[in-house]
């Protein structure tokens, strides 16, 4: 036992922070589950649990692109959208084949992640060869394009398989799918996906957050993560030590897109009705706000910011019209406080690992 303790004490600071992050998420999950079984959570709070998990996962995955790779992405909601609608199609079409909801959910999230990764690869391959802010411009456009594309998409399923219609002219309807007698429409163009069987659960959300953390943190602490951070810090020197810039940038960006896709699938399967317009530019910016507020490259910061900023607008609901005003003021104060040297020193005294680094700087 003492040997184990010694091993823990000899661990690196980053490893300790990682363990603390995992532990924090597990503790939060246990506390919320207990509170929920006690009946001490309101219905609206329970409804927020799955979205919070999705947003946490979104924030952590975007942090990989923005904080660790150092490239600005303004279309993270687009990848979420791809994952969400893929997940819904997979889940609805396999309803009879796989009656077990958790298995179906896992498969939907996996396929959603896969497709989002593919889209990420398509976007990243040309753009990430360039230096500069091109990724921001392209992902911004991608977010808008994917929204319009899904708005035109009509998908149905019958015993023969999936049927697709692409409603570019605007006058096609579900009838054009030519579905069999037992067929159902899954995505109905601008109406979005309706009649979805909501199979998302808080446990699935918890597992998603843990998986996201595991992937992002372990990636960051491996050779790939070091290479990605090296490219962020100085791309000329990164090239001079033999790193293939495009390869490592793509690795980070595609991983980030895949995780957003998985989060999207869970998000999509949490509602019986979902429109593509939900995944708009505002959502991309919201996730970016989580990342910036939590600290670039700071994973546990992203988690806390995502949870806090999802709960805050709901908690402020009694204030009616002043809700968004207060929300904005709180945001400004948090940013001021986290950038204030005195406030930093105060938090530094609370956290032992911070104290060590603060002393070194003095």
């Amino acid at each position: 036992m003492t040997k184990k303790m010694k091993q823990f004490n000899s661990l690196k600071k980053t490893t300790k922070v990682d363990f603390a992050t995992y532990f924090g998420v597990i503790a939060a999950f246990v506390i919320v589950t207990v509170l929920r079984s006690n009946g001490s959570l309101s219905r609206s709070t329970i409804g927020l649990l799955v979205p919070i998990c999705c947003y946490m996962s979104m924030a952590v995955s975007l942090n990989l692109t923005v904080g660790i790779l150092g490239e600005l992405s303004l279309g993270h909601a687009g990848f979420m959208s791809v994952g969400a609608f893929t997940g819904i199609v997979v889940s609805q079409s396999l309803m009879n084949l796989i009656p077990n909801a958790p298995v179906r959910l896992a498969l939907s999230m996996f396929v959603g992640a896969l497709l989002a990764a593919l889209v990420g690869l398509l976007i990243g391959t040309p753009v990430l060869r360039l230096q500069g802010d091109y990724l921001a411009i392209v992902t911004l456009a991608f977010g808008e394009i994917i929204k319009e594309l899904i708005n035109c998409l009509i998908i149905g399923c019958d015993e023969k398989g999936l049927h697709f219609v692409f409603n570019l002219s605007g006058n096609k309807t579900v009838d054009d799918l030519g579905l069999g007698a037992n067929g159902t429409a899954i995505i109905k163009g601008a109406q979005g996906a309706t009649g979805t069987t909501a199979i998302a659960s808080f446990t699935a959300g918890f597992i998603l957050v843990m998986l996201t953390l595991l992937i992002v943190l372990n990636l960051t602490r491996s050779r790939a993560g070091r290479a990605i951070m090296a490219i962020r810090d100085n791309h000329i020197a990164a090239q001079a030590i033999g790193l293939n810039l495009t390869k490592y940038k793509l690795m980070a960006f595609v991983t980030s897109a895949a995780l957003a896709g998985a989060a999207g699938a869970l998000f999509g399967l949490n509602y019986s009705s979902l429109q593509a317009t939900k995944f708009n530019f505002n959502l991309s910016i919201l996730v970016l706000v989580f990342v910036v507020l939590g600290g670039l490259g700071n994973i546990w910061g992203s988690l806390i910011a995502a949870a806090a900023l999802t709960i805050l607008p709901e908690a402020l609901r009694p204030l009616h019209d002043y809700r968004m005003l207060i929300y904005a003021i709180v945001l400004i104060f948090v940013m001021l406080a986290t950038n204030n040297p005195q406030a930093k020193a105060f938090f530094g005294r609370l956290l032992p690992h911070r104290r060590a680094s603060a002393e070194k700087e003095d």
Partner: protein, 282 residues
């Protein structure tokens, strides 16, 4: 020596097989034949012919703006030469990019330090060993046995490299928090970690005081002896250049005006003229 053999991750002190092989090979590590580049109409480097032996320390000197750093940028393919050939270990590197040139065996430092500032000192070194590590991204995420094995060797090797400059205690410090001289030394270690056959040092002694420079001179020689690599260095500190370089090339206005041993260079009238100007005729 094949690429495969070189790509093995071996701790510094245990590399005897590779070393004898390197010593036995007497062919030059680098040959520049009529190398040149023009920017518009300006011939920044012209007819650059220099050959560097396998464990030779060569100095590249010249007045400001002579094109010394441009030569480094040509050798590392930051600029694509407009004419001439670069042979590294006998192979033409015309079609390689900067990263591939490094993997082929040229590592460099920068005149204005370019460290990975937000990463730790140790990470700055281990990231440079990327070409010698084999575990894949999924292995890294799942932390399979190969991850632990290679990470441990990388850590040991990083510590061995840091011990050259007695910097082991700084391993966990942030690279940007180091004092200037230590940053310069870290850059040299980072370049060494890529396991090069030729090390390019761009003003390694810039900003160092005389005692630090003296220590650096010893270090450069010991690095050459331990790793059996060739060194090409740009330096304005003539004391350093004349003491440790076996060969010197003097560059002025993009052309090599003199080549030879330190004694030759010190007595060469053209070099003196380039640095001090022409003596007025009485």
């Amino acid at each position: 020596m094949t690429q495969k053999e070189k790509a093995k991750l071996v701790p510094v002190s245990r590399e005897p097989a590779l070393l004898t092989e390197r010593d036995a090979d007497k062919s030059p590590v680098l040959e520049c034949i009529d190398l040149g580049i023009t920017f518009g109409g300006l011939k920044a480097v012209d007819n650059f012919n220099v050959t560097i032996g396998r464990t030779e320390i060569t100095g590249l000197i010249g007045p400001n703006g002579a094109g010394k750093t441009t030569v480094f940028n040509l050798l590392t393919k930051v600029y694509q030469p407009t004419h001439g050939t670069i042979l590294l270990n006998g192979k033409d590197i015309h079609d390689l990019n900067t990263a591939q040139v490094n993997r082929a065996g040229i590592a460099r430092t920068f005149q204005n330090i370019r460290l990975f500032g937000d990463m730790s000192v140790e990470q700055n070194i281990t990231v440079a060993m990327d070409n010698q590590v084999h575990y894949t991204m999924p292995e890294g995420i799942l932390r399979l046995p190969r991850f632990w094995k290679e990470e441990r060797v990388m850590h040991e090797r990083a510590m061995e490299l840091l011990s050259i400059f007695h910097m082991e205690h700084l391993a966990d410090a942030k690279a940007s928090s180091l004092p200037y001289g230590a940053q310069r030394r870290l850059e040299i270690l980072r370049a060494l970690a890529t396991n090069p056959s030729l090390l390019l040092l761009d003003e390694p002694a810039a900003g160092m005081n005389p005692s630090e420079t003296a220590e650096l001179m010893e270090n450069i020689c010991s690095i050459r002896d331990t790793f059996h690599i060739a060194v090409l260095l740009i330096e304005h500190d003539m004391n350093l250049v004349m003491n440790i370089c076996e060969g010197i090339a003097v560059l002025n206005f993009g052309r090599v005006i003199a080549k030879g041993t330190p004694e030759d260079i010190q007595n060469n009238p053209e070099v003196i003229e380039a640095y001090l100007g022409k003596k007025k005729e009485a």
